[in-house]
Symmetry: C2
Subunit: 710 residues, 2 copies
Amino acid sequence: MTEHHSTRTVASRLRAARARPVVPRGPRRGLGVGELRLDGGFWGALQETNAGATLQHCLDWMEQLGWLGNFDRVAEGATGGERPGWQFSDSEVYKLLEALAWEYGRTGDPATGALLGKVVDRVAAAQDEDGYLNTCFGHAGQAGRYTDLSAGHELYVTGHLLQAAVARVRTVGEDDALVDVARRAADHVCREFGADGRGADGQAGICGHPEIEVGLAELGRALDEPRYTEQARLFVERRGRGTLAPIALLSPAYFQDDVPVRDADVWRGHAVRALYLAAGAVDVAVDTQDDDLRAAVERQWTRSVERRTYLTGGMGSRHQDEGFGDDWELPPDRAYCETCAGVASVMVSWRLLLATGEVRYADLIERTLYNVVATSPRADGRAFFYANPLQQREPGADVRPDAVNPRAEGGVRAPWFDVSCCPTNVARTLASWQAYAAFVEEVPGGSSGGGSSDGVAVDGGTADGGVVVSLAQYAAGDLQLSVDDRDPGQPGGELALRVTTEYPHDGRIRVEVTAVPDRPVTLRLRVPHWADSATLTGPDGTTIAVRPGWADAATLALGDVVTLDLPVAPRLTWPDPRVDAVRGTVAVERGPLVLALESVDLPDGVLLDQVRLDPAVAPRAQGDGAVVRAAVVPLPGGGAGTPPFGPGGPGGAPEPTSDTGAPTPASDTGVPAALDLTLVPYHRWAERGPSTMRVFVPTARPTARPEEIR
Amino acid sequence: MTEHHSTRTVASRLRAARARPVVPRGPRRGLGVGELRLDGGFWGALQETNAGATLQHCLDWMEQLGWLGNFDRVAEGATGGERPGWQFSDSEVYKLLEALAWEYGRTGDPATGALLGKVVDRVAAAQDEDGYLNTCFGHAGQAGRYTDLSAGHELYVTGHLLQAAVARVRTVGEDDALVDVARRAADHVCREFGADGRGADGQAGICGHPEIEVGLAELGRALDEPRYTEQARLFVERRGRGTLAPIALLSPAYFQDDVPVRDADVWRGHAVRALYLAAGAVDVAVDTQDDDLRAAVERQWTRSVERRTYLTGGMGSRHQDEGFGDDWELPPDRAYCETCAGVASVMVSWRLLLATGEVRYADLIERTLYNVVATSPRADGRAFFYANPLQQREPGADVRPDAVNPRAEGGVRAPWFDVSCCPTNVARTLASWQAYAAFVEEVPGGSSGGGSSDGVAVDGGTADGGVVVSLAQYAAGDLQLSVDDRDPGQPGGELALRVTTEYPHDGRIRVEVTAVPDRPVTLRLRVPHWADSATLTGPDGTTIAVRPGWADAATLALGDVVTLDLPVAPRLTWPDPRVDAVRGTVAVERGPLVLALESVDLPDGVLLDQVRLDPAVAPRAQGDGAVVRAAVVPLPGGGAGTPPFGPGGPGGAPEPTSDTGAPTPASDTGVPAALDLTLVPYHRWAERGPSTMRVFVPTARPTARPEEIR
């Protein structure tokens, strides 16, 4: 009988509390999923909806569509004929298992554990004698194993199985049915694809969709099994050498088989593939002390984020291949920004954050969590965005509530997709959200002022031999963590912090120390890159200005209160002049939230195309959104019978403006000369019926960033 | 022995001279391919290159790749196993046959005739007993006939066969091997897909890729066979009813099976499919006097041109499905603008021009011919663009000269593609270019002032009982046409015009009457929509201003000279404010030519991203291009570690300008404060090595069209 059927012991509760998806070699460890109890708030609410609605929703759809039944058919020897789902549908089951595992680990809810156990039993029954496990290949009436490495997704699917098993190892231990299954599957992969197996001699020995790398690396860590790490390393090294057979009209860059990982300068091709691969490469680099490989991924991260990433943190500019575009190719309307790419981006940045401590990785995680991951699920947790564009030109079509929907179209969240990778990816991320909220770092004796701190300290440096607790994300709740390996029953090993905040609605984050261990602890707080006027108030009541980066608050004592004030007033954000697709527009952000203008918030008779935002009037906060000043302009009539381009007279006079720089609006439309419009958080757009939407709003008087021409 | 092996008689030469692709019921007939001898010039040169290089080039590639051999294998009963080429590769052979047929018809060159005859013999040998002809389906080791209507392209391929046969009927007559083949194939289609055949009772009875409609309709006209017209009508009517099985992730709109043709308001989905279908629908509408259907296509044309068409005339905004985007979705960098969509757009507009006489159709044809069709072939006629984007962000990759290239990528013309529809489509269009240059219209007795004239007349109205000759496109050469059915050996039936012009390099078009028939002839000249200051000088030397539209020159007498002066000085062209992707930019046009700024024309060290065009300085002509005044601006540095969006200070100040409105350039770059840059015709970009390119150039001071805000 596996652990999920039993009452949890103190030791197992502790293990589960400290469990986390990523445990690399190195000085930093992330929070365990049970070490932070969320007190409602933004992420607490999403997590509750995930637990209360999304997990069962996903299970029901996969049961209904036969994706779970696929395992039964293999177990019963009843394969052949039409098989429900795509060739990679098993992976959705595994991602759901991972989500259930984290949820059970965090809460210990017996119903969740029982649900998980039932699915695991069906999965386990489908595993072949030699460890191979896949419901689409290798059985009667199916294509042979590994006969389609480019498109078959077999190793990809296995990678997700291993990640699910990692969640079990870390939350309930190795003595677990799913862990047994995963170990046998991983051993099979090592036998088949080892140094002397498939992939030797320059033959194809990798999967068209990366994921096995990160799965093997983490399972290797969880089970302390160097063979798995080595196999992950082999997969990373074999990639980029053009061994995969091409898929139809796609280039080798589609699956990153164009350039070896350590030689590439930027992410390209299918975004989820590129990012899963990068996550696995960081794991391998860290565990094998391969600084060259790690530097390669950091280099790719830098260029890709600075040139190929949306304001939302979304990645993927093209629908065609669900892929990255060229540098500066960031169209808002055709932004793909797949939800899964957001999840994968968080995976990469979190690994780099643990590896380096650099605050920029935490900044991107926050941007992506609020504006991609949180955007996907509908408020009720039972429908999802697959793609997350930044402009919707035509009102979203009605979604079919009881049918499988095409992905990435329509501007509406759908209950399920024919390719339904996103719902379960959101589920596993939300179920383990705590793991990304903070990390703990040992301070080597003799050092002072933590090496990775790029902020300022309120109260001196970091004490030698102590620990630094860095808050990377902010949410109200109780953080209770062991700063060393002592059992929490033993006194003196535990730090407890009470975080009080309404972030991101409000910018104040109050941290109170409610328990301290018997060693020095420094609290390090992230000041986001957009927070240009943040202040930090220390235990002694002194308030200082803190710049973006890490701010060391104090060496903590019981009862200390530290307060960070972040400026979350709405602000205007301008595109780099090379982002052609949004020239002459401006976006509005509020704290970590990107805002959006939706047609449902416009006066009757006004089209989104007619709105010109007046950047001379500062936006003001309203709810979690903002109110901006805007003009409504008339639009050219039709009837020219030509493409929509025409003469504008010599000089192409700029839009007329008043002396104050305010726009001169149309006077004959019956619309006020200037009007106030409300923008809402992007992550909640399309919750009020079909609408058109823009994140980037044209300005009344098109302007460039001031720095463009000096 | 078929006609192409024999010496041409006078009668056969006459037939060939008068041959043309489109002969609808109605008062207007297009020029025959032999009725205009081009005297070099823009189109004459392209046509010579097509004849001297492209035709053989296409033949060689198809021989080498086995696409021609596919016919031999069917004839020999050697099908099964790997078949070279895509399922639609036969259509390339047919389009080449059509090109050869027009070329032979126009020139009577025996070598061309012989080449054609050899290919026809191989094609004919592959035809099944019952008329079915396809090298991919229906034979040993192949999928069964019509087992994949959605993606099999069987009827599409047949449609191209019929169009090739039309070229033969019209140039050499019905007694021809290719015509025999086509007739049997068409009869087979009518038997299979007739009112009681496939497609009855709401089952799928259409092809995933339209083309059979236009082929059947025109063959029906050419052979005076109403069964073919009726079958075309059936195919048009059956479409849009959701009968085709979906293709993977594509929606029914992809192949226009979402809305019946007569109900649709706009083109959507795959652009070539939408346009071939529209061409066939016009044919059916005209031949069956179905005004409702014709009005539907006109309505679709209007909205699609005004909202979904590029400055170049290019159509197709998305790579994903090679399809139209939403209204106003016209990204320059990801413009698909497939060459074949340009060809298909000309087909549709030409049919609507003949049906209505409205000048807007001729205007779009000109725009598309110069900026899409002429853009595709390399100067030597041995490499081609498949897609025709209006911005190239990264220098085009080197093309593989001896290999099949992926389509639509790279910013370089390639010799051949895996899907190689464009080269042969260009070839058949250039070989029959004359057919689109002019049309002749009977003036019913008792009428005056031709009904379709929307310009002005220099010299009174159109004489009763005469004919109107409308010049739709301009090229130097001798136009020699029969204004009625008399044999040219008989005197009094022939009109001859000598057109002298260097258009589009120069705007003067001089038309001299070198022979007149014995009935009144009015010359009607097209004043393009962009020609805001054109003048027309009549036979008596009087010069008048003419507005865009049709300008009636005179009732002609022998020796009359009429001169049209079009303003081809470079001009600025502004996007409609709803075309978000090019806000804050301006394009430069010169006559019918869209111009482009290529990186190879920039000073050393200047990037295309740095250029800001100064719209206050009028561009001046240089060669066929223009010189513009521009500034070079510094670009933001990297290193922020965030997506490329940031604060710009409250108000987001506009770019500083001097008192004169000229841009204030960077003073520290070593680049002149203001510099002159050369733009070249878009159709010749990428001829000087890999480069980046823009049609729409950001302005120094971003401006809107003056009409946007009044």
